[in-house]
């Protein structure tokens, strides 16, 4: 199990305190800068490891950074605190984005990112909660994180805790039936402190979602399952922060985050092959320039 980086955790605590006092649009520039840094780290990790899922990583990076830096009540120095908020990364293949975000927050040292996918590294291709602090449950196969998040939210209800639970789902992942079992359970129990965030980037591994197995009308599906549905631009930190800060009322909340797979790197954006393609050295340099602009 990796351990916290105290200096980074202190900086993160400072940033969280600062952002908590800002309106969403004022906080957005800070979040944008952090997300760009997360993408750059992730790019280097994947290039070095020769594997990873940059397309999905870059479509969820802004969501993850907004949650960790400005929404979730978490403490990297005490990652198992009982009343922490929870983020479950159901689309576990975007581990790269999660690892880079957790490292930025001080859950472990950023140097550890260099070990991504190396022999004996804590940083598997998919996240493991027994190896990486901040990971709530091990994920990888799709359709697992959402039921777990429902259980987490139910536990908060039973313990009369005000902690919140977020689960980040891929859009293609919603083709797994277990998600809809979980959606029904959350709705039945009225778990209003549960947010399901759908990374709606329109692409899955092999093709567009609508060509593979149609998801639309997606908002209507969630609404008919008894969820409050909010639609946002998943790369607009102000919009994301505003919607995450607004609590649910009586129903669980589905945030459909409209995103672009590969966001931030021109030659990756909305290209199906960048689901798990590894960039060349030259492509890394181009991408780093774009992500530093």
């Amino acid at each position: 199990m990796l351990s916290a980086d105290p200096a980074a955790a202190r900086r993160f605590a400072g940033l969280r305190t600062q952002l908590a006092q800002l309106a969403p649009e004022q906080a957005a520039p800070f979040l944008r800068a952090m997300a760009a840094s997360v993408r750059r780290d992730d790019l280097r990790m994947v290039h070095q490891a020769r594997l990873g899922h940059l397309g999905g990583d870059f479509s969820v990076a802004d969501i993850l950074v907004t949650l960790y830096a400005a929404v979730l009540n978490v403490d990297p120095m005490r990652p198992l605190l009982a009343d922490r908020d929870r983020l479950v990364l159901s689309k576990g293949h975007t581990a790269g984005a999660l690892y880079a975000t957790l490292a930025h927050c001080g859950f472990f040292a950023r140097d550890e990112l260099d070990s991504f996918a190396a022999p004996e590294s804590a940083l598997n291709g998919h996240p493991s909660n027994t190896k990486v602090p901040g990971v709530e449950t091990s994920t990888g196969p799709l359709g697992h994180g959402f039921p777990v998040a429902v259980g987490v939210a139910l536990s908060a209800r039973l313990q009369a805790s005000s902690r919140r639970t977020f689960v980040l789902l891929g859009d293609g992942e919603l083709q797994e039936g277990s998600n809809w079992e979980a959606a029904m359970t959350a709705s039945h129990y009225g778990l209003s402190a549960l947010f399901a965030v759908v990374d709606r980037n329109q692409l899955q591994q092999g093709a567009r979602t609508e060509e593979t197995k149609q998801l639309e009308p997606l908002a209507g599906k969630w609404a008919s399952f008894g969820w409050e549905v909010r639609e946002v631009n998943g790369h607009d930190h102000g919009q994301l922060l505003d919607t995450f800060r607004r609590p649910g009322t009586t129903r669980p909340v589905c945030v459909i985050a409209h995103t672009v797979k590969g966001k931030g790197v021109s030659f990756m954006e909305d290209r199906v092959e960048w689901h798990h393609k590894v960039p060349s050295a030259e492509q890394v340099q181009t991408a780093l320039r774009e992500l530093s602009a």
Binding site: P147, V150, A153, A182
Partner: protein, 320 residues
């Protein structure tokens, strides 16, 4: 069912399950029950009456059932996730692997009506593969109580053990086999009879039949050692290897598939470390014909007479 001429009192492990879970819930408010429209079939009606808020029903959705259980454990509760064993372990196998075992969540998986318990309902409802499947999952103890005392002890152990476990709760009534006051030692087999001629290793519902077989053999002057293996994983390797060395021949008996369960575990162990003559009794790799549980146990040779016959056969083939 042949259990000898004397009437033997039979007891229901499901009642021990229900009573113990209620007792545990009274002692520890973290205990919750989770089911998939299986309140009745899991004998949780009384639990629900006493703890309505701690009885979570996710409807007919086993994948959700196990995932929700893992989430409740993440939140600091101790979920007893209970459903018919075939559906719990078959439909939700990947959730058991990833959400519970790999994530090391303190979830107690309770497989109800396992083995051939559903008799005439047919192979869709038989749970003979669960031991094979779950033995292959790392980090997951696989626990098969043999009587009400062991059922109660297994629940208490699982509640206090900060990790995952699978408890296979017998359905049809069985005689008591645990000596009064015998301790419940995780991972340790219980030797129920002494004997150096042959060993019978049994689990769950087969333990009482192994004892009956030993009684039959004793009349013929054969002294059989009976081991009750409650933990299929982790297996008590010392007890098995000692038995292999001291008796040379082992019969295993389980109400489960012979492809990967107790017998396979014993075979894998002894073949590598202490070769012994083996007879593995259970359900061969086949779908059962229509019939009651009693009929099917007879059909597959899971009776005291068949166990005794296998022991005789082993001894007849012993090296001079």
């Amino acid at each position: 069912m042949s259990q000898g001429r004397q009437a033997i009192a039979l007891h229901d492990c499901r009642k021990a399950f229900a009573d113990t879970l209620i007792a545990l819930a009274r002692e520890d408010e973290r205990i919750v029950a989770v089911c998939s429209d299986s309140v009745g079939s899991s004998n949780l009606t009384a639990f629900k009456a006493e703890f309505p808020g701690r009885m979570i029903n996710v409807g007919i959705a086993e994948q959700d059932l196990v995932g929700v259980g893992a989430g409740l454990a993440n939140g600091g509760l101790i979920p007893f996730v209970s459903a018919a064993a075939p559906f719990l372990t078959g439909r939700a196998l990947e959730q058991i692997k990833v959400d519970v075992a790999y994530s090391q969540a303190h979830v107690v998986l309770c497989g109800q009506s396992p083995g051939l318990a559903y008799g005439e309902l047919g192979p869709t409802h038989h749970s003979i593969e669960d031991l094979s499947w779950l033995r292959a999952v790392a980090g997951l103890p696989v626990v098969v109580p043999a009587d009400p005392a062991q059922t109660a002890a297994a629940l208490r152990w699982a509640a206090g053990n900060p990790g995952p476990s699978y408890l296979r709760i017998p359905r049809f009534p069985v005689p008591d086999v645990t000596p009064p006051g015998a301790p419940f030692r995780p991972g340790q087999a219980v030797q129920l009879t002494d004997g150096d001629d042959v060993t019978i290793i049994a689990t769950g519902t087969m333990v009482s039949r192994a004892l009956a077989a030993a009684a039959l053999l004793r009349r013929e002057g054969i002294r059989a050692r009976v081991l009750n293996v409650t933990f299929i994983e982790p297996l008590d390797t010392e007890a098995v290897l000692t038995a292999a060395a001291q008796t040379g021949g082992i019969v295993t008996a389980e109400e489960a598939s012979t492809s990967g369960g107790l017998g396979a575990a014993v075979a894998t162990l002894t073949a590598q470390h202490q070769p012994a003559r083996l007879r593995i009794l259970g359900v061969p790799r086949s779908f059962a014909p229509t019939g009651s549980t009693a009929f099917l146990l007879e059909h597959f040779g899971l009776t005291a007479e068949h166990i005794a016959a296998a022991a005789r056969d082993i001894m007849a083939h012993a090296a001079p």
